[in-house]
């Protein structure tokens, strides 16, 4: 699009704004009559007309609820600052969102088979789910891991397991997304070393690591080290990858877990963006050029039940990120201003009661994510509140996205809800709310002091409690749970069972590995790694050496724990 066209469009829009201003005066007068009539009429008593986040919704929105002169300044065009309408110019007209479903279970062999099956059916990217021990940096044979190995994801304890996971899967052709945080640097090195063994140079490896430690302290709790060393490690990853693995997305700044832990939409939005700003500040403080690493930052939102509020959250998020990146952090490149996001439907909204209803919930949430302009989407399976999903349930979740993409027509036009008085007003409200929360966090001295004093955790727990109270009081209706219940329900949903054999297989494999590798080399590599940590050097090179020597995940974690200590959660209710 040329600049001339842009200016013409701008002038026309400006005239429109003028006309609206005149209209507004008359509207205000008529509205007071309407409001009087509304007040005099009886209202339903089965709802208090608030969103699931507790936001009060008005019965009617009009131009009086939107900001004056807002179009060019606040909304604009897709792919242009402030990106309210979307991060890319042509959005789903050029490319649909990526339908990415997260999977992993049991041992590396079993998951490798599942991946090959998916790749043979045309999937081009993989999304790895790890088990809890791996997420926490524990080996499968650690006593703490007992009972959890391979249960909620795949168990990866060393480079050997990662080699098995991607056996026969070329890492220069398949992009790998790894949901890993506390030990992100270890798993990243496992992946890089696996690529190396396949003969794939680092600069050709594509993928994403979640690597968002701040939200772990706030919500999901898969942490290892205290915030300062953890942030240092993340900055090491930014710095090293900008030079050696430029195609890799080094962080996915996630609101998902914050929301799932109970936060409101406004808290999810504000805490996540503030975390993003904190990473940016750390990168700048290290001496990195913001335009070098900011384009590799990406986001991850939850898509909850309140349809319009969720759509507004996506839009407000893009606008706030763009404004801060340009105005506060001085980024010059549009790629640095542009917020790209993955989204997942809200696991916490799935009900164990009448589980087939979850298909409808997931569909509406998926629709909200698409109307919000997401770049990729995971739709939950209907049985995920009962166990890990069965293949059948996963297929329905994927088909839900395909129906959205190809049957509903919602992807035909870009940001179709722009200009809705309600949606624009909600977008503005969420932006204002986020700015107010930013100010509150700044008052505490920033995100890290907020974490250490339990500010975030306490706010999130309180929001969770408010929702639970509303649910139990019946003022918040959840179908099948506190209304429209079925007596003597037999849900009839088949459950996927993961047996205990993964734990045994892993223990045996690790014992073999420990006897096979060169113990002296491992000890030396771990000592070098600890030295690098003590001397505040970039940890990537010595970590890669330790990984190549087949030091295990747990051994590496402990070597660094000796230097950095462990994070202890503040208690806040």
């Amino acid at each position: 699009m040329s600049h001339v066209l842009d200016r013409e469009a701008a002038e026309a829009l400006q005239a429109e704004v003028e006309r609206r201003r005149a209209e507004l005066a008359e509207l205000e007068a008529r509205l007071s009559g309407w409001t009087a009539a509304y007040e005099a009429t009886s209202k339903r008593d089965d709802t208090d007309f608030t969103t699931v986040s507790g936001r009060v919704i008005a019965p009617l929105y009009t131009p009086a609820d939107t900001r004056e002169d807002e179009y060019l300044r606040d909304i604009g065009l897709p792919g242009e600052y402030p990106f309210t309408r979307g991060p890319y110019q042509t959005m789903y007209r050029t490319r649909l969102w990526t339908m990415r479903l997260f999977s992993g279970f049991a041992t590396a062999e079993e998951t490798n088979e599942r991946y090959k099956f998916l790749l043979e059916r045309g999937q081009t990217g993989l999304s790895v789910a790890f088990d809890f021990p791996t997420l926490m940096g524990y080996d499968s044979d650690d006593p703490m891991s007992e009972g959890e190995v391979g249960k909620c994801g795949v168990a990866i304890s060393s480079l050997a397991d990662m080699e098995t996971l991607f056996d026969g899967i070329p890492l220069d052709r398949v992009s790998v997304s790894m949901t890993i945080n506390g030990p992100a640097i270890m798993l990243y090195c496992f992946l890089l070393a696996t690529a190396e063994k396949q003969g794939v140079p680092f600069e050709r490896v594509r993928g994403t690591i979640q690597n968002d430690i701040l939200k772990e302290y706030m919500a999901q709790h898969a942490w290892i080290y205290p915030p300062e060393p953890a942030l240092k490690i993340i900055t090491d990853i930014f710095e090293w990858s900008a030079e050696h693995a430029p195609r890799f997305n080094t962080i996915s700044i996630s609101g998902y877990h914050i929301r799932e832990a109970g936060a409101t939409a406004g808290q999810e939005l504000a805490y996540t963006l503030k975390n993003g700003f904190t990473y940016v500040e750390r990168g700048i403080a290290r001496g990195l050029d913001v335009d070098e690493f900011a384009p590799r930052l990406s986001f991850f939102w939850d898509v909850h039940n309140d349809f319009f509020e969720e759509i507004a959250k996506f839009r407000a998020g893009r606008r706030i990120w763009a404004r801060h990146m340009r105005e506060v952090y001085g980024a010059q490149k549009p790629e640095s201003w542009r917020l790209r996001t993955h989204a997942q439907t809200a696991g916490v909204t799935l009900t164990a009661q009448q589980p087939y209803n979850n298909v409808a919930r997931v569909a509406y949430q998926g629709l909200a994510a698409v109307l919000g302009g997401t770049q990729s989407l995971h739709t939950n399976a209907l049985d995920e509140t009962l166990a890990l999903p069965t293949e059948h349930a996963v297929r329905i979740a994927l088909r839900t996205q395909q129906i959205l993409a190809y049957e509903t027509g919602v992807a035909n036009t870009i940001d179709p809800l722009a200009g809705s008085y309600f949606v624009e007003s909600l977008t503005d409200q969420l932006e204002d709310e986020a700015e107010a929360i930013f100010a509150e966090i700044d008052e505490l001295g920033g995100v890290v002091p907020g974490i250490e004093t339990g500010y975030f955790q306490g706010r999130i727990a309180r929001s969770a409690r408010r929702f639970q109270d509303e649910l139990e009081a019946g003022s918040r209706v959840v179908v099948g749970v506190n209304a429209f219940e079925e007596a003597d329900e037999d849900h009839g949903v088949e459950i996927l069972r993961i047996d205990e054999s993964a734990g045994e297989t892993q223990r045996r494999r690790l014992a073999e590995l420990r006897s096979r590798r060169n113990a002296e080399e491992v000890t030396r590599a771990l000592a070098d790694l600890a030295d690098a940590a003590r001397n505040d050097q970039n940890l990537l090179p010595p970590m890669l050496d330790a990984v190549r020597a087949y030091a295990t995940l747990g051994e590496i974690r402990v070597a660094l724990e000796d230097v950095y200590g462990r994070f202890k959660e503040p208690i806040s209710f």
Binding site: P226, T453, G565, K568, E569, I571, F573
Partner: protein, 363 residues
């Protein structure tokens, strides 16, 4: 072992005391509950075990919320364990004034001590009672003492008078502050100056730690009236009469130690990294040696015993008076009397049930 107290116990309670004496932690735990809940026979149980009380050193740890008391408590406990000393910990948290419930979360900071042999941690809710909390914590400490722990750490949030009282009913009181908790003047306002034998400035790697240390030292110096040489030993505060180091020794005992006042040290530390913990622990040991050498330990323990006996008496009197009150309330005509007579007259009537010879003198 007090035989008459033991004789008044039920067979089940006797069995519990026997298991306590043979060193079973579950028995200790259950006797504590018995005492904390004032279940029938609890005073006889305490009396039966009283002979074994008095060996442990008791250390109060207090300070504002978020100062890192639990972290420091855990670090001190580890220091003692490295020296083969056993440690009993009492962690007090407030009860909700509305529901009477409580969320006791101090153990999170002491997580790695849960299975450590030689360490026993007990969380207590303040249960909102004034003298009650002081008596319950003291008696729980007595039980830990009788069970054989070498050191007893009593951790409370230093926010209210009763919490301060609890912390200062020990041999030594450690007050923990952090740069964020304000300046020395605020510490003085909160009453922390009166109770401290030792200050720890925790999170000393944060900005403002040096300033806080200096401010506390200045306030201490002002209080002692000896600028530049902060020292303990002030007068006129009720709390001081309960405590070991605070009370001026009788004239004759003072002779040899006249110039030997305890200077309250202010020690920076980072409890989460165990930095400075050694100095805090060693200073606590030093304080105890000073208490012993100066004769203040015996004085302090006597003052503690006096206060404890007073609390037990008050509790016993209260219990009897309340029983009489309940039966008076149940009598016919109580309602009418409440309307027609003054509360003072009613009180005299009830009291004469408990204590027929009660003097009728007015107050």
């Amino acid at each position: 072992m007090n035989e008459s107290a033991l004789a008044s116990l039920s067979p089940k309670q006797k069995g519990l005391i026997e298991r306590f004496q043979s060193g079973q932690p579950l028995a200790l735990s259950r006797v504590i509950s018995h005492v904390e809940n004032h279940r029938p026979g609890f005073e006889s149980m305490l009396e039966a075990l009283h002979g074994a009380v008095g060996r442990a050193r008791r250390i109060g740890i207090t300070g504002p919320p978020g100062a890192g008391k639990s972290t420091l408590t855990a670090a001190l406990a580890r220091w003692y364990r490295e020296r083969d000393l056993t440690v009993g910990i009492i962690a007090v948290d407030p009860s909700s004034p509305f529901t009477g419930g409580a969320l006791l979360g101090d153990r999170v900071r002491m997580d790695d001590l849960a299975t450590e042999p030689g360490i026993f941690i007990r969380s207590m809710a303040s249960r909102g009672s004034h003298g009650g909390l002081a008596a319950s914590t003291r008696e729980t400490a007595d039980l830990l003492d009788a069970f054989g722990f070498d050191r007893i750490l009593l951790e409370t949030v230093g926010v209210g008078q009763s919490e301060l009282e609890v912390a200062s009913s020990t041999d030594s009181t450690l007050v923990v502050l952090v740069p964020e908790s304000g300046d020395g003047i605020q510490a003085m306002k909160a009453g922390l100056m009166e109770v401290a034998d030792l200050f720890a400035v925790n999170k000393a790697d944060r900005p403002g730690a040096d300033r806080l240390k200096r401010e506390i030292e200045i306030v201490l110096a002002l209080r002692s009236g000896k600028p530049g040489r902060p020292a303990a030993g002030h007068h006129g505060v009720d709390l001081s009469s309960l405590r070991a180091g605070r009370e001026d020794p009788p004239q004759e005992e003072r002779a040899g130690v006249a110039d030997d006042a305890w200077e309250v040290p202010v020690i920076p530390c980072v409890a989460s990294r165990s930095e400075g913990v050694e100095e805090v622990a060693e200073t606590l040991e030093e304080h105890f040696r000073w208490l012993e050498a100066s004769g203040r330990l015996a004085d302090g323990r006597r003052a503690q015993a006096r206060e404890h006996a007073r609390l037990v008496l008050e509790r016993a009197m209260g219990r009897q008076a309340m029983q009489a009150w309940e039966s008076w309330l149940a009598t016919e005509g109580a309602d009418r009397e409440l309307e027609s007579r003054s509360p003072y007259a009613i009180s005299r009537t009830v009291l004469s049930e408990v204590w027929p010879d009660a003097p009728t003198a007015e107050y």
